[in-house]
Amino acid sequence: MALSMIYSPLLLLLVSCSRRVVSKTTGPTPAPLVPTSTLPTYVKSVVLKGESHTERLELLNPVNLTLECTWAGNQNKEPNITGWWLKDGNDVPNSRVPVELQNEQYNLRGVFSVNNDTTLGNYSCVFANEARIDFLLEAPQIGDVREKPIVSYIGDSTVITCKMDDTKPMPITWNWFRDNGTEKEQIIAESSRFEIKNDERKTRLVVHDLTEEDSGLYYCGAVFAISTPMSHVKLKVITIMEPLKPFLAILVEVVVLVAAILLYEKTQSKKKATAENVPSADQNNTVTQEEPNGPEGSPSTRQRKV
């Protein structure tokens, strides 16, 4: 008796709260975020076949994005399930709504204001933990990133390039950044050693009078209204000594071998000349048709070729 007296007010509170929650979500799903009226709108609808699907969206400018998910349901085809939205794996606040089965389908809709780097990302609509559609919102990425570092020499100048694919839209401009240990620092073109040449789809950073401190990561950013996607290139500055070592090693090998071979050939030819002078004197006596000039002439002619 005493227990029910304590619990009943609690129960009443719970019921009223849940009723309040239910009443909030019985109507049409309200937008979790308040859209601003100045941004353009864009609607993307995806019908899910199967259990999951990923959709990539490339955005250049800030938009009011309406994402619609449609799911055909499973065998049970319950009349009411819960659907919610995730952003980058985290629940979007106030996005959990009941979804009714209409025309054998479940529809879930979300409106998001996408206007900067933080609002880009992975938006997912989830149907009762059974079906999920991922929308990857991103600015155009810079393709063909060079993995190998660019090597250059102290005192030399080097060119670092970034290129946006022909299939992707053109950026407004390009910016270059240098890793400063803690953060990225923008490289200003007006300084003497750096030259930036922008060419719509391509950008070139020319660095003159390289020093060892110039080694490190350089970032090129393609500026779009919505965000600035980046790509990085590693620069390595080395001294002339590095390639000079194998160069000198091979050079020494070549010089030693050539000297040894020529020396050997010369000593062999001298040996042969002395060896042949002796028997040629005998030949003069033994062979009658021998000409006097012949043997004596030969050593000189023989030695002419070295």
């Binding site: 030399d156 050939e265 042969k272 060896a275």
Partner: protein
């Protein structure tokens, strides 16, 4: 091996040696001689020469092919486009072939050794200057012309010397020597890429210039040879024996009286006496270049012109054609690798094959057949629309490409004789230069105008078939004219 050629003792060693085919020195003499040509050693130091020629081919042809790896780096650094950088490759190739007669001239005037060493120094300097270059124009000069000139001074003399050292195994020797370009490209391409990754293009060119300095080492080993007559009967087919005889018909050439041949001429020459033509100034031009008047050589040179016009096109346009019919980039690159590897196989096996006694008299015929097969393959290419069909083409074409490359110097020496081989080879490679330079752009123009690769491959195939048919017609005419005599005695002058 060295002891074979240069005995320390005098007569006793030499007497036994005259029984075998060793080199002996020749002497200049005022009396006329009735010598019979002593034939080339066919081994011994000859294999060292083959090894040197292999290295020369690696350092010249393979390095030239690796230049295209640098082009991407040049394009970024000098802010140039592909066409501007591709000129470097054309310049090197063209200069190497155009200056080939210069190389053979240097070989006749002085020696093979000197020519190759000078060539090695020149090309090394050229690459060294290139590594320090700050503009594309300087690269054209240093990496294009200077290096090309150095390569020209090395390439022809070393190939000619192989021909002087071998008779029985000439085709095999040439096959091994010429396989250097294929094997060299295979090994050097990844090595050059690694050098560029480690040291950038400047450092890579620096190391490459030292590598090319190895040409001097090869040059130092190229011992000149003198040929002297051998009285022995051999089982050689008459055409080989005949140019052994041909060598020493010229009275200016050093000869030995036959009576003394067995007694005093056993000593093989270490350092050969100067080339006979060197001692006489005016008449030697005519004796050295007499082959120019031979009808056989004229028909051969005409066929070389057409051959060079057609043979480079498939290498350039196979990959774009494969891509256009839907073959993937990896598979297309694989086709080129197959082509390269089978090229090496063709070099060596065809060289060995045409050295067999049964095939030796028909060497020219084998050469004609390999060109015919290549031409037919090219004609069939437009019908091949898948990777599976293009693979047999790559295998066949690669094999016969290796085959004819190994046989060019052999066929040339068969036609002109050993004494004029140097000058003739210079001229043969000179004839290759202009078609090599012109045919890829013409092929490209055809592709642009017609929008398909069919005319290009048809041009290539027809060119090669024409080259083969010129030789067939010339051989046919020859046979008709000299019906009573055997076909192989070709003594027109």
């Amino acid at each position: 091996m060295i002891e074979d050629q240069r005995p320390a003792s005098g007569d006793t060693g030499s007497r036994t040696r005259t029984k075998t085919k060793t080199r002996t020195r020749t002497k200049t003499s005022t009396s006329t001689r009735t010598s019979m040509a002593k034939c080339p050693p066919d081994g011994g130091w000859g294999w060292v020469i083959v090894g040197c020629c292999f290295m020369v081919t690696v350092c010249t042809r393979a390095v030239t092919r690796c230049f295209s790896i640098f082009f991407v780096e040049f394009q970024t650094h000098f802010e140039a486009d592909y066409a501007a950088t591709a000129w470097i490759h054309s310049l090197v190739d063209c200069t190497t072939m155009l200056c080939a007669p210069l190389g053979s001239l240097l070989m006749s005037r002085w020696s093979c050794r000197l020519s190759v060493i000078v060539g090695g120094l020149l090309s090394s300097c050229g690459l060294l200057i290139s590594s320090l270059s700050s503009s594309l124009e300087l690269l054209y000069f240093s990496m294009g012309i200077l290096t090309g000139l150095g390569f020209a001074l090395c390439y022809t003399p070393s190939i000619a010397l192989v021909g002087l050292y071998f008779r029985r195994k000439k085709a095999l020797a040439y096959g091994v020597a010429m396989s250097g370009s294929g094997i060299g490209t295979f090994v050097l391409a990844p090595a050059v890429q690694l050098l560029i990754d480690l040291y950038s293009w400047r450092g890579a060119l620096l190391v490459l210039s030292a590598f090319v300095g190895n040409l001097c080492v090869c040059g130092a080993l190229l011992r000149p040879v003198t040929l002297q007559e051998d009285t022995e009967e051999e089982e050689e087919p008459t055409e080989n024996k005949q140019y052994c005889d041909n060598n020493w018909k010229d009275p200016e050439l050093a000869e030995k009286p036959s009576s003394q041949s067995k007694d005093t001429w056993g000593k093989t020459s270490l350092l050969a006496p100067p080339h006979p033509e060197q001692t006489v100034s005016a008449p030697h031009w005519s004796s050295e270049y007499r082959f120019l008047l031979k009808k056989d050589f004229l028909s051969l040179s005409l066929s070389f012109l057409f051959l060079a016009g057609g043979c480079s096109l498939p290498f350039v346009y196979l990959v774009p054609f494969a891509l256009s019919v839907g073959v993937g980039p990896q598979s297309a690159a694989f086709l080129m690798s197959i082509l390269g590897v089978i090229d090496i196989v063709g070099n060596i096996t065809f060289g060995w094959l045409t050295d067999r006694p049964c095939l030796k008299p028909w060497r020219l015929g084998c050469y004609i057949i390999s060109i015919l097969m290549e031409g037919l393959c090219c004609l069939v290419v437009p019908l091949l629309h898948s990777f599976a069909l293009l693979v047999p083409f790559a295998i066949l074409y690669g094999y016969f490409d290796g085959a004819y490359v190994a046989l060019i110097p052999v066929v040339t020496s068969d036609v002109v004789g050993v004494e004029s081989l140097t000058a003739a080879l210079g001229l043969v490679y000179f004839l290759h230069s202009v078609p090599y330079l012109l045919s890829p752009p013409i092929g490209g123009w055809l592709v642009d105008v017609t929008g398909s690769y069919t005319p290009t491959f048809l041009l290539s195939g027809t060119s090669m078939l024409l080259s083969a048919s010129i030789l067939v017609i010339a051989a046919g005419i020859h046979r008709c004219r000299h019906k009573p005599r055997p076909l192989k005695t070709i003594n027109e002058n």
